[in-house]
Symmetry: C2
Subunit: 245 residues, 2 copies
Amino acid sequence: MNLFIINNIKALFSSEKGLISYIKNTLGFYPGNIYLYRLAFRHKSVALKISNGVKHSNERLEYLGDAVLGSVVADFLFKKFPYNDEGFLTGMRSKIVSRSSLNKLSYKLGLNKFIQSNGESKTQSKSINGDAFEALIGAIYLDKGYNFTKKIIINRIIKNHFDIEELVKLDVSAKSSLIEWVQKEKFSIEFNIVDEIGEGYKKLYVVEIVIDNKPICKGQDFSIKGAEKLASEKALTIILPEEKS
Amino acid sequence: MNLFIINNIKALFSSEKGLISYIKNTLGFYPGNIYLYRLAFRHKSVALKISNGVKHSNERLEYLGDAVLGSVVADFLFKKFPYNDEGFLTGMRSKIVSRSSLNKLSYKLGLNKFIQSNGESKTQSKSINGDAFEALIGAIYLDKGYNFTKKIIINRIIKNHFDIEELVKLDVSAKSSLIEWVQKEKFSIEFNIVDEIGEGYKKLYVVEIVIDNKPICKGQDFSIKGAEKLASEKALTIILPEEKS
């Protein structure tokens, strides 16, 4: 073997050793199939091309991990809050698995040190870190199964990195609550500017909310954001009447 | 005991027997905690009120079951289609767990015979049947765990009631693909009518798509639906460039 190949193999093993001990130290277990974990850190910008046009990156694992994480967090909250309704549970889950929350988490866990990507995506992609976290969950699930993954997520991630009491208090805007409800119900939503009254800084915007092609209500304000907020608050009282009473 | 109480107890046991044998016949197992399954069929319109303002209906189980179902279907498709990308997998999953798909499934399984609700919700609620199916999945998960639920969903539900080859061919509109992507990425989306050109039946509508408060592109057509479709197709080529090439 020439020196080039030897050096490459050395590098491979040393980076693998780093990944294995990182997982052991951070999450408390030894990975079985290390290939899955390496793949979890491979951003699509540096996807490996193999035959039949298949590209290997962490996107498929991210899709799987996102679903498994959603299920585990749903279960955790269901049991932690036995007297709260599903609206509360759905909201709490969104706060935990939101893109910004997972990006922050990924940094706290130091996942960014292992992510492989081209430089451009590192600075441009909003979600490269959170996506890698989800892909890592997908890898653990395939490697160790659901119950093991659930224990890791609850005992190593949620208990160490989330302050549930604080999250309960965290206020979420009316617009995001509405979008969340719409997504859960699998409806479409539009925020349409249907009228602009007056001119200049005194211009009033009228925003109409349309859910599943049905107009629900309007809100008006001097800014589009304000009009959307008012319309969203109104829409929430219409679609969730019992929760407001 | 007076006759009224005896008759009530009799009715309770006979309805419970019906539910137990239904589950055994349809899904192939005996329920452990029958209370969970009864709750899965209780629509919020007939929620039981207990102390501390807590209302018992199937909404919490539906929240849990929705998440578990999403995870199992994600896993099933991940393994069934090892060479397809996550866009394909996400699309396939949406087709399986869409509201209309779950409503149909619920009818096929005959769940509607067990759903308790007031008459009004039965005729008015679009999703009462699909919701009960999700709640049933939540009940199985709490009663028997993830791996058992996964086997039931794959072997008793997907294999018997879904034609995966047909689902692959099923065309999904550009607008729903776009909304699906936006939901996955946890962005907001607006379809704004920004201009109306001309009058009467020759009127052209200009729809602008705004994702996370950033204008993406416009489409125009003689109908709002048409303009939305064109704008959505354009948006898809912008946000998913590599999948279109």
